[in-house]
Subunit: 308 residues, 4 copies
Amino acid sequence: MPLTAEQQAEIESQSNLQIPTKRPVSPGLEAMLFKALPVLDHGFVRVVDYMGDDSSIVQAARVSYGAGTKKVSEDRGLIRYLMRHHHTTPFEMCEIKYHVRLPIFVARQWIRHRTASVNEYSARYSIMDREFYIPEPEVLAAQSKINNQGRGDVLSSEQAAAVINLLKQDAQQCYDNYETMLNPAEEGGYGLARELARMNLTLNSYSQWYWKINLHNLFHFLQLRIDPHAQYEIRVYAEAMLKTLQAWVPIACEAFEDYRRGAVTFSASMMKVLGRMLNGEAIEQADSGLTKREWTEMMQMLAPYQQK
Amino acid sequence: MPLTAEQQAEIESQSNLQIPTKRPVSPGLEAMLFKALPVLDHGFVRVVDYMGDDSSIVQAARVSYGAGTKKVSEDRGLIRYLMRHHHTTPFEMCEIKYHVRLPIFVARQWIRHRTASVNEYSARYSIMDREFYIPEPEVLAAQSKINNQGRGDVLSSEQAAAVINLLKQDAQQCYDNYETMLNPAEEGGYGLARELARMNLTLNSYSQWYWKINLHNLFHFLQLRIDPHAQYEIRVYAEAMLKTLQAWVPIACEAFEDYRRGAVTFSASMMKVLGRMLNGEAIEQADSGLTKREWTEMMQMLAPYQQK
Amino acid sequence: MPLTAEQQAEIESQSNLQIPTKRPVSPGLEAMLFKALPVLDHGFVRVVDYMGDDSSIVQAARVSYGAGTKKVSEDRGLIRYLMRHHHTTPFEMCEIKYHVRLPIFVARQWIRHRTASVNEYSARYSIMDREFYIPEPEVLAAQSKINNQGRGDVLSSEQAAAVINLLKQDAQQCYDNYETMLNPAEEGGYGLARELARMNLTLNSYSQWYWKINLHNLFHFLQLRIDPHAQYEIRVYAEAMLKTLQAWVPIACEAFEDYRRGAVTFSASMMKVLGRMLNGEAIEQADSGLTKREWTEMMQMLAPYQQK
Amino acid sequence: MPLTAEQQAEIESQSNLQIPTKRPVSPGLEAMLFKALPVLDHGFVRVVDYMGDDSSIVQAARVSYGAGTKKVSEDRGLIRYLMRHHHTTPFEMCEIKYHVRLPIFVARQWIRHRTASVNEYSARYSIMDREFYIPEPEVLAAQSKINNQGRGDVLSSEQAAAVINLLKQDAQQCYDNYETMLNPAEEGGYGLARELARMNLTLNSYSQWYWKINLHNLFHFLQLRIDPHAQYEIRVYAEAMLKTLQAWVPIACEAFEDYRRGAVTFSASMMKVLGRMLNGEAIEQADSGLTKREWTEMMQMLAPYQQK
């Protein structure tokens, strides 16, 4: 259970507010507001604020004086058109803010997206929680033989147990010594500055932050991080966030699924091959003009759509 | 009057909504929401959405589970501390969205601030309004003799009238011909593409946009554009926006006034002079170690605070 | 001829320098350095500085201690892999700086790309050149009937002549009065501040700027602006810049052509249709699951690759 | 010694190149190019590329056709004027690229500056070096009593030795187990995916990256990180980079020292107190209108400049 009773009480008291506003309100997202969606063993994602909804996208695209919405079908058509043709600025008009708890090695990947605002819990100022990410056995996989930055087969249960044991033991020992460094002399410690002691923690220690981003940049983040090639430990955060988007901006989300997440891009060389295929030609890699790697990738892209 | 009856009706219908939300609500800003604050002769600024308030700044600074607020005096002290020490990220947690109508030459200065989201009315897609900025006689000033990018004395009333006459006549004639280019042949026009015809408009034509920015970046914008050295025509927009901030985030605004807008920065060389002055020394430019220009600037910086 | 003799002399003197450096040098781009590539009637693009070349991309991707290059074929394969899989950060390691002269209405489109550094010629500080963009008759097109933001058929030569006449006359008259406003009283003018007088200029007046951007963001700019749907007057600038890239980073450019400019993206719904087509099914719009608009777009995407 | 012989050889071979270019060349920075400036026990900073020099700042500010430089004294005056009045865009025209080796907890602070381009050594793709930051005894300080995010007195030599011992032992054990997790079964390991095993490393493990930034943003970084309140472990990197700037853009650097690093900013309330002091009034905190904290800060700001 990632939250203490005190934290739950804090969240509860905020959740009970109901104040009238003239701004766009998303009933779907209001229902999820402040609630922690659990991710990994001790992590979570929770929406703490938002601005705008699907109507804000059409309002901005039309630069209108009022709400700018027309019939639902016209609004949907406009949002899909904007998404399809990469008219991205109207999607920037929606904003969402999350509170996230996540392992530090995940935070290091995540922060590479530079278009968000971040306030991270400060280990210079505060003492870190005694909580570490320990993977479930079924996600402990061997190094992939074919992909230098991926995973292959799952470890045997003995191997997994041994790895989990090492991870637990090292994280705990490092944390114990972190505490010893921090503790005052009268408690057997060394009173070391927090900004120094923190360097003894392992990269699976949990941190947390407030993270705020506009919808356009969030879709870009999700497209990269929800991808099967993304590391599992960040993908599960992306999946949790996508659920919040489905509640918040369902039309934009549907367009995202169709024109981004489910879309397939063929290079100029691949398009030539595709044209020949559509003309009924049987093609082998050798006469395709593609490298072996590109050919394999193209076949993988087509596989889900072809007759078995 | 910058708004048509139809536009007013659109705004009214939006203003009458009152939907409950669990999010932070700013009563001061809700009262101003959607209302056009007039700026220049046909321009306006109006808030169309916002996210967060003063409490969101302290919530993010404390990375808290609930609202994160404590006693008002503590929150105020924290916000002032953050502003004073340039801990800027918590101010990024508030966001505001404006609908602005402004002359194109102002829009060109404004857009140089790259940290905002913008949707501008498209002159490729739509026909521009027949409205131009014509300055009041009292703001029509001569080129400054001492400042290459500033204004000097106000023109005489005859000069001002002549200039206003030229501005009006050229803007109207250009717009008339813009319309002629756009009109279909059967109406005596040429049916030219809108993306081409627009090039005939003058730079004082009004455009409009949705403009969304976080509070940190907005303070930076205001600090530069509310400055007496900023061009009058953008400064009046900055002043209108500052009023919306006073209603929205009064504590952060007060800190901004004290630590940014009203603050004075002395260079290392100026600090040496200041030290000597505080020690009772009488100093002339010649023995100050400052150039004449720096000396003049320093004296101007001190003048409002010294005995006459 | 866009450049004065004095400007040419300035450029010449800079072009004759030859100073040794340890940095990567691109012979192709050195040969173009400082030379103005003419664009439109009075505009130009010229490279004034650059940093890195194709080798800098592989060096960064490998985070290497030395140059990081291996065999040309391996480097090419790596660059193509990075481009194909949107590993964009290594492309940010190359930087290029242009000096551009362009009409103001083009500058207003251009500046919407926020990821560049810009220094524009200041009309608050200096007097604008007496130069305007007057389109060639063959680019003067009617408003498109099917695309709200595009062009249709070219105007007749009489219509074109009439439009050109209006554009010339209005631009010249506005500039004449701009000068009158600026001139001192003893020359029959009003001595108006430059920051005010400029508002009388038309949007086809030429401005100029220094514009600096990294290769990743430049590819993104080019992808959007070299597209047939981009306005002609900005597309010709994009085409001139692409030529400089071909001289500078030929391998990255080739990958850009294949994986971005020449690439085709199908939505999830389109992929289902494509799969059925590859399986030999004959499909009509009505049973495709696509809207008419999407169907038309898909047929246009496939047309260049299918047997007539 | 942070570099292997092989790495040194790679660097040497790059350093011996001397290719002519027409671009601005900084002799001072050429002499430092590629050389590793040691920082901390195993870290370094080395310049791997740059673009522009002091002359590029004035060239952009003047939007000139040629180099744009005039007399050295005029150029210096212009650069100082730009810095003093926060005309920041010309400083964006210079760019520099570093290769940095740094502990992960330092990298996490550093990356919060979002205006740079980064390529980090990938622990998903490669195996991390067996190197950790172990502080010197003289930088091991107790938690500050007065500053929640700072250091107080240095630990006793016994305390320091004990802390160093814990840091070494935990880092080594975690690295040993990291290797065990990575190693194949035939070598007694578990063949775990690199992207998983890395989570067992401690935060003082060294990583490395290519980091590229423009001069304006670098000055901003340095101003924050060279400050005495910045953590020592990042401050020493800032100091090493400042040395490279002094070799590269000496005039801009001098302006930075005077108008940024050595400058002092007084709030509006502090300015009132300063005015009274300049008028010869003796003031106590109680009648100053400042809080105790502000008063203390103001006295600290003035202390270096006042007679003892």
